[in-house]
Amino acid sequence: MEFILLLVLASLYSISLIVGLFKQQILSRSVLYLGFILHLTILIIRSLTAHHPPFTNVYESLLLLSFLMQVKFIFFQKSISDRVINLQRLAVLIFTVVLIALPPETRTIQAVMPALNSIWMYIHVPAYLFSYVALFSGLVLAIIRLFSRKNIFANDEQMDTDISLAMIFMSIGLVTGAIWGQVSWGNFWSWDPKETWALINMIVLSLYFHKNDRKAQALIVILTALTVLFTYFGVTWLLSGLHSYS
């Protein structure tokens, strides 16, 4: 049932994007809102069925992340060009397609493992999700910046805000994760692959604040997004460790 809803969601987001490309913004927005409501419904159904918030594994966190990205793109941004809007819609659509492409077993609702039964989960995981939302929002602007000949000051300003937010939330996520590690395993830091890559993400992103050249900054954002994607998928499935469940 959830899979069918996901297919419908991807279809709605695709229609919204295609219609948007043909400059039919009112129709595109209407379809997008419909998709947004469906996305919220899937999240609510999932949470109620599982009896836990939807961020205890890759599938759930990706479902929530794409929803939060949509919230950010719809409700929290200044007036921007159609090009940016289309790219934002494409970004959410890609995440939705990835959700569909994930192995079916990742969609199975499972009980929360004991280590995740902690108040820190409600701080650590959302902090990272917020940071990823800000990062991917910045990524859209970075791609536009890299391939655009014009300098759009509003976009650059928005990119700075997004990346600063991403950095702040990433730092909160890393610190709260270390504290949670101490509470759960008696160790602030274990050099677990996920921890190491979380640190790599943060160091790569920190390069952004040491460059004044906008093109170079855009490249750094793209590089960070790639390392974050590796942390999200690559580390989870290729490198085993304490965070193998997430």
Binding site: A111, S118, M167, G186, N187, F188, W191, V204, F209
Partner: protein, 263 residues
């Protein structure tokens, strides 16, 4: 000075990133090696110096946070003693450090499974501490006593061994017991050589399993029993919290100095 720092930053940071990426994928053991630790500390020192020169308050805080994290990681990793303790029901273990000794005995280990699945949603070790107090250790809720911490780590099947002589005795690895009035400590079972390591009066004996042998002038036979679920706890001795607090204060002081310098 600022130019030198900037140039160094653009050399050091990609180098550190490359080191971390290569080690995390190909050789995780390198991440905790001495050479890497020295490089982390050098990088921390470099970041600390640059705090004075970076422009905004936010970047100063982020720099200091990174320095503090590197120090915590290096210090805690090299300073905290930790090892696993596997106990079957009735099994006991003597925890010892410089200042404290604590006898722990597993009274009961319970696993709660999710309805209709094999996934464990909760597991709990009920322990008797120093033959007096009963406590419970679960994931995220360790037992704390002075500098000693006991964490619920995992669980596994463990084989109890029956010791038959004039008396009989059932022991898990690591457990103490009294056989024919003699205090024994069953250290471990070597499955390869099929022998049990027994300590008596601090003398180590290796006795073959499933064979009758003479031990301290008495016939004894050790037979493995059906395995049962036991707990795995993680012992951690906490050290250096005061030093870490001092480091945090020192970093805060750096932040204040760099702010004053700017004004």
């Amino acid at each position: 000075m600022v130019k030198i720092l900037k140039t160094s930053y653009w050399i050091l940071t990609p180098a550190i990133l490359l080191m971390l990426i290569v080690a995390s994928i190909f050789s995780p053991a390198l991440l905790t090696s001495l050479s890497y630790t020295i490089i982390y500390l050098l990088y921390a020192a470099f970041i600390l110096v640059s705090v004075v020169f970076v422009p905004t308050f936010l970047t100063k805080i982020l720099h200091l946070l990174l320095v503090f994290m590197i120090i915590v990681v290096v210090f805690v990793k090299s300073n905290n003693d930790r090892y696993p303790i596997a106990l079957g029901k009735g099994g006991s273990y003597l925890l010892q450090n410089e200042n404290d000794t604590l006898d722990i005995k597993l009274l009961e280990f319970t696993i709660t499974h999710d309805n209709g699945s094999v996934a464990a949603v909760h597991y709990e070790s009920k322990l008797l501490i120093d033959h007096r107090d009963t406590i419970s250790v679960t994931v995220n809720h360790p037992f704390k006593y002075k500098k000693i911490r006991l964490y619920q780590s995992s669980y596994r099947n463990m084989t109890p061994f029956n010791f038959y002589s004039n008396d009989s005795l059932r022991l898990f690895e690591g457990q103490y017991g009294k056989l024919n009035g003699i205090d024994l400590h069953f250290l471990e079972y070597d499955s390869h050589l099929q022998r049990a390591a027994i300590s008596y009066n601090d003398i180590l004996f290796y006795l073959p399993v499933e064979k009758e042998v003479t031990f301290l002038n008495t016939k004894i036979k050790i037979i493995p029993d059906i395995p049962e679920m036991g707990t795995v706890l993680e012992y951690v001795e906490v050290k250096g919290h005061v030093l870490l607090l001092l480091t945090a204060l020192l970093l805060l002081l750096t932040l204040i100095i760099s702010r004053l310098r700017r004004k």
